[in-house]
Symmetry: C2
């Protein structure tokens, strides 16, 4: 399907089709929809220009660019992109779970090779606009269930939650709390389900008082930690949803004079570099963020070349890394 | 100066000039030089297209993309760029102090608005190529003396070194070691000079055994820390060149059974988020990395608009943040 055939079918001029293809804003909404529908149906795919190889870009969108977590992902994308001669264009969606439409406009305008979304997703309409232009996207660490047709790379969250909790049970803990990420985020739910399964397998009840939700940041770990430590019957161990939340639990423990690990064992999630340096070094579930980003980028580039990868949904393995923040609980008085 | 006038003056065709302007590789080196010289002399500046505002980019180059340090800078550049409707293109120069020529080709090809270089610099020839195209660049945290005509944003390194060392002297320390960054890097030299000045003002000698050089990474802090702690007359305090190096000193101290701060006081540099979380929380010199990146981006955008900023070289203030890794030295036996 050529531009002129699309223009004819849509009853518009060639420059109008061209504007839509280039992501320009000055096209009436209904005209744009009609053209995009035709493009989608007939599978127009713009040829990349001869200089395209050199100025080619891959877009990387973060939900938030505010922690050491992000650099692990950026490094993976940048490494694979650079090997392919692509530049990485970085954006932040300002905490929203989908990027703004202006981002899609910009991706179309620069004819990006592919897009990588981290901890976020595209609205159906945004997906359609990229698909119409043959720009594939891959989600890293999906927050929801992205649907079987959406390529994604995650990690074995349920197994991570299971391993963390099992470790605490094996040390002798019986009152084990969990501080998860946001309630609606599936990766966090999977970890909490792993936690429940470990308790269940050991014949331990899951006390609803000991299950808290947060947002993966330090402050929510601190708030959850304070609330848990002030319970009449506080936990002897906390499994935090992220290393940053674990840092918040450390802070709450310091404030309240609770010693880690003597009075409270703490397990984190992610294994950011910081986990090795804190006092005491943090036992945590390693999530291979850089490898996940590399895998997602490779997958996106295969899709961009029209070579669908063998698997569109990958979960990489997680491992428990035992350090010094976990030990047997103190004997109860 | 128009393209056709340049072509005429250079005795080449218009498409050849166009290729040079677009950073294409398929132009003979001497032809390219001749054309670039003409462009430089006559100040040709390409008009940005009407869609330029939306697809416009700003390039950000890192020496290395491997620590929490980088995310602080990325966040500042992204914040200012987004407010201006610009996308950030990220690159890493793979540890080299200047980006590869392919990077300059790509910047020219995508007609980037400006470039920000972090802890690195451009070769004179690379500077000329950007200048010929009216693409300004600003250096963040320059490693060398970038010359009075190179816009840069740094921080008050000498004052930071002075404040860190003075704090240790005021606590009563007399044997104070320093672990700097690479010998050739000026920002590190300035900190060490601040250290020397503080010692000098207090009438203390600077023992060459107590001055070490590293590379700002954890491992070099660990190696320097080990060597210092194994001296016959070890220091009672260490001023590390970065928070990551301070983490290395923590590691060395743990290995050797040296307690922080009882046996050894440690001061870091940067005030990354990790400084608050380590055990004990790290006394450090705060370097406002995000603000430095924001300032550099604003400066680059002013230059791109042809409005030279009031100052082409800025140093933002550094502050000492006192936490729990520093205390008075133990009385000597």
């Amino acid at each position: 399907m050529t531009i002129s055939k699309i223009a004819k079918a849509a009853g518009v001029s060639v420059p109008t089709v061209s504007k839509v293809l280039n992501g320009r804003a000055d096209v009436a909404a209904d005209t744009r929809s009609r053209i995009e529908e035709l493009i989608r149906r007939h599978g127009y795919r713009r040829r990349r220009g001869p200089g395209g190889g050199r100025s080619a870009t891959i877009d990387l969108v973060f939900h938030e660019l505010d922690s050491a977590w992000a650099i692990e992902v950026i490094r993976g994308v940048e490494r694979v992109a650079r090997a392919e001669g692509l530049s990485v264009v970085l954006a932040e969606s300002g905490g929203r779970q989908t990027p703004q439409d202006g981002w899609v406009d910009a991706v179309l305008a620069r004819q990006s090779t592919a897009a990588i979304l981290v901890f976020s997703d595209l609205a159906p309409r945004q997906r359609d606009r990229l698909a119409a232009r043959g720009i594939p996207f891959v989600v890293v660490d999906p927050t929801g269930d992205p649907g079987t047709d959406i390529p994604s790379v995650g990690s074995a969250n349920w197994n991570g939650g299971l391993a963390a909790t099992r470790h605490l049970i094996e040390l002798g803990h019986r009152r084990i709390a969990v501080i998860g990420g946001p309630r609606h985020v599936l990766c966090s739910r999977a970890r909490i389900d792993g936690y429940r399964s470990a308790l269940d397998a050991a014949g331990l009840p899951a006390d609803p008082d000991l299950i808290r939700f947060g947002d993966f940041h330090v402050e929510s770990g601190r708030d959850g930690g304070r609330a848990l430590l002030r319970l009449a019957d506080p936990p002897t161990a906390v499994f935090a949803g992220s290393d940053l939340q674990a840092m918040g639990v450390y802070e709450a423990a310091r404030e309240l004079g609770v010693r880690i690990p003597e009075d409270l064992s703490v397990v984190g999630y992610d294994d950011l570099p910081v986990a090795r340096w804190v006092g005491p070094p943090l036992t945590t579930v390693r999530q291979p963020l850089t490898e996940m980003a590399e895998e997602a980028t490779r997958m996106a580039l295969l899709l961009a070349r029209g070579e669908p990868p063998a698997n569109l949904r990958l979960d990489l393995a997680t491992d428990l890394v035992v350090r010094q923040s976990t030990t047997a609980p103190a004997p109860r008085p």
